[in-house]
C-alpha cells in the first residue's frame, strides 16, 4: 500500500510503494501518474526492503501535485554500483537518497552528510557513526580530514567539483543526477562529457568515475 510521509515543514517527502522486484544501489525509477507529469520524473532508490520501495523527494516541484494520486513507477534504470572497498560516503541534500541505499546494502567505513537544514536531518534515517553537517560547513571540508581515499558522492554540482578540486589524490565516484526524459538512453538529455566523449546518466551511469568526467563542460 502506498504511503506518503511529509517532513515537519513540508519541504521533503518519503514516498513508499509496494514493489516485488529488485533494485541495486545506483539504480533509479521514474515516477508518474495517470494525469501527469507529462515527463515521468527520475528518483534514486532511498530504500528497498520487505517489498517496500522508498523514494526521498524534495517537494515544491511539479511532481508534488501528483503525489496523492496512484503512482506508476517504471524501472529500475541505470547501472548498479558495485561494492567499493573502504569507502567514504558523501551526500548533500536529497542526494542522500542513493547514498542511504548504498549504505544499507553494502555498508560503509565513514559517512558524511551535508544537510541544507535541520528539517531534512530530522526527517531521514541516519545510521550510527555518521557525521552530519549543516551549512555553512560542507561535507567537502570534513572529507579532507578522512584517511579514506575511495569516495562515493551524490550531491550538488558544487560539492562534486569541490571534491575533485580539493582531493586530487582520492578516487572519486559520483552518482550524477541530470534532468532526463526517457531514462533509457534515447533522448540524449542527460549528457555528461567524459574522456570517451558524451555519455548519458541514464544509460551509461548514473555513477561515473569523476576523474573521467569533464565537470566544467557538464556543470558550467
Amino acid at each position: 500500500m502506498k504511503m506518503l510521509k511529509v517532513s515537519e515543514k513540508g519541504s521533503y517527502a518519503l514516498l513508499e510503494l509496494p514493489y516485488d522486484g529488485k533494485a541495486m544501489p545506483g539504480q533509479f525509477f521514474t515516477i508518474k501518474t495517470k494525469t501527469g507529469p507529462y515527463i515521468p520524473r527520475p528518483f534514486s532508490v532511498y530504500d528497498l526492503k520487505g517489498g517496500n520501495l522508498k523514494f526521498l523527494i524534495k517537494t515544491g516541484g511539479e511532481i508534488q501535485q501528483f503525489l496523492d494520486e496512484d503512482i506508476i513507477i517504471d524501472g529500475p534504470f541505470g547501472n548498479p554500483i558495485s561494492k567499493i572497498d573502504d569507502v567514504l560516503l558523501l551526500a548533500g541534500g536529497v542526494g542522500y537518497a542513493p547514498i542511504h541505499f548504498y549504505a544499507l546494502v553494502y555498508g560503509f567505513k565513514e559517512m558524511i552528510i551535508g544537510m541544507p537544514d535541520d528539517e531534512l536531518f530530522d526527517f531521514v534515517d541516519i545510521p550510527d557513526h555518521c557525521v552530519c553537517v549543516v551549512n555553512p560547513t560542507t561535507p567537502v571540508d570534513l572529507a579532507k580530514l578522512s584517511p579514506l581515499k575511495n569516495i562515493l558522492v551524490c550531491g550538488p554540482h558544487e560539492m562534486i567539483m569541490g571534491l575533485k578540486r580539493d582531493l586530487p589524490e582520492s578516487t572519486l565516484y559520483a552518482i550524477m543526477e541530470e534532468k532526463m526524459a526517457c531514462a533509457r538512453g534515447m533522448c540524449e538529455g542527460c549528457a555528461v562529457m567524459t574522456k570517451d566523449g558524451v555519455k548519458f546518466v541514464c544509460k551509461d551511469g548514473p555513477t561515473f568515475k569523476v576523474s573521467e568526467v569533464d565537470l566544467e563542460w557538464t556543470y558550467r
Partner: protein, 300 residues
C-alpha cells in the same frame, strides 16, 4: 478497417511513424516495441561531421511539454553508414533525416545514406543549432532541397519550422519539386530561472514538444493542406493517444509522427495503434478516408 496508406509509392502499414530525434537511431526504442508494429521509423538527423551536441542542461520540464536543447548530437554520416544504417529494420518504412549547414552538406549526406533509406527527410528546421533555422532563408532552402533531389530518386520530405510561415515554406518546397512536407519541428521557446535571473538552457532557446503545442501544429497542418490540396502532409506534435492521431488526420495529415510520447513510454505506441484501429472500426472508416476530412466538411 484498413490503417494503411501509400505515400509517393511507399506503403505504410499504418500511419504511425516515429519522429526524428527523441528515439535516436532506434537501438533502445526497438528493445520495447517491434518495428513490425509501426508504420515507419525516422532516424535522428545525420550530418557530414560528428556533432557533440549542446552543453547541459539540455532539458527543461514544463507542464504538458518538454523544452529540449540537444543540438543535433550524432556520430556523423560516415560512422552512421558504417555502423547504423545497414541495420535499420526493413519491417517498417525507413526514413533517414539529413542535416548540415549548406547545400553541399545536405547533398553529400543524402548521397551517402540514400541506399539505406526508403525516404529521406531534409531537416530545414532544427531549433537548437546556430542563430536561425535554415528554413528562414528561402534561397538557401531552395538550394538545399534541389541539391538533395539531384542526389536521389527516393521520396524527399521537407521538414519545416513551425516558427515560420508554413504555407510559404511549403510553396518553396513545392517549387523545389518536393511532394511531402513534415509540419514540423519543435517550436522555439525559452524558460528563465527566477532564482538566478538566468535562462535554464545555455543556448537560452530550446525546442518545445508535447501536448502544449499540439493545437498550433494542428492549425498549421490544416492551413497548409487548405493551401495545397495535392501536397502530402506529415503532422506531429504532442500526440499521446489515438484521438490525437485522428485529429491530425482530420486536419490533413496522411502520416502522424510521434516523438516525445514514444520516448517516455515506448510500449504506448502499440496501444495507440490498436486504439486507432478500434476508433476507425467504430466509425466504419479506413484511415485514408479520415485524412483531410475537415476540408471535405467532415466524415460523410
Amino acid at each position: 478497417m484498413d490503417l494503411s496508406i501509400e505515400i509517393e509509392g511507399i506503403h505504410f502499414k499504418n500511419p504511425i511513424v516515429t519522429a526524428s530525434g527523441p528515439l535516436g537511431f532506434g537501438d533502445e526504442f526497438f528493445k520495447y516495441i517491434s518495428p513490425s508494429v509501426i508504420g515507419g521509423f525516422t532516424s535522428k538527423t545525420v550530418t557530414p561531421k560528428p556533432i557533440t551536441g549542446n552543453m547541459p542542461p539540455r532539458l527543461v520540464y514544463i507542464q504538458n511539454g518538454l523544452l529540449n536543447s540537444i543540438g543535433l548530437q550524432n556520430p556523423g554520416v560516415d560512422l552512421f553508414i558504417q555502423k547504423t544504417a545497414p541495420f535499420l529494420s526493413e519491417k517498417c518504412v525507413r526514413i533517414i533525416s539529413v542535416g548540415g549547414e549548406n547545400p553541399q552538406d545536405f547533398a553529400d549526406v543524402t548521397k551517402k545514406v540514400e541506399k539505406f533509406a526508403d525516404m529521406i527527410e531534409v531537416n530545414l528546421s532544427c531549433p537548437n543549432v546556430g542563430g536561425k533555422v535554415i528554413a528562414s532563408d528561402s534561397q538557401l532552402t531552395k538550394e538545399i532541397l534541389s541539391g538533395c533531389k539531384a542526389m536521389t530518386k527516393k521520396p524527399l520530405i521537407a521538414k519545416l519550422s513551425l516558427d515560420l510561415d508554413t504555407v510559404r515554406q511549403s510553396q518553396i518546397a513545392i517549387d523545389s519539386g518536393i511532394k511531402i512536407v513534415n509540419i514540423g519541428n519543435s517550436i522555439q521557446g525559452a524558460r528563465f530561472n527566477f532564482k538566478t535571473g538566468k535562462p535554464f538552457l545555455k543556448n537560452v532557446k530550446g525546442g518545445l514538444s508535447g501536448p502544449a503545442f499540439m493545437p498550433i501544429a494542428l492549425w498549421k497542418v490544416y492551413q497548409v493542406k487548405e493551401a495545397f490540396e495535392d501536397l502530402t502532409v506529415i503532422g506531429l506534435g504532442g500526440v499521446t493517444k489515438a484521438e490525437d492521431v485522428m485529429e491530425y488526420a482530420i486536419a490533413g495529415a496522411s502520416i502522424v509522427e510521434i516523438g516525445t510520447q514514444a520516448m517516455i513510454d515506448p510500449k504506448s505506441i502499440q496501444k495507440i495503434i490498436e486504439d486507432l484501429k478500434n476508433m476507425l472500426e467504430a466509425l466504419k472508416l479506413d484511415f485514408k478516408e479520415v485524412v483531410n476530412a475537415s476540408h471535405r466538411g467532415g466524415f460523410r
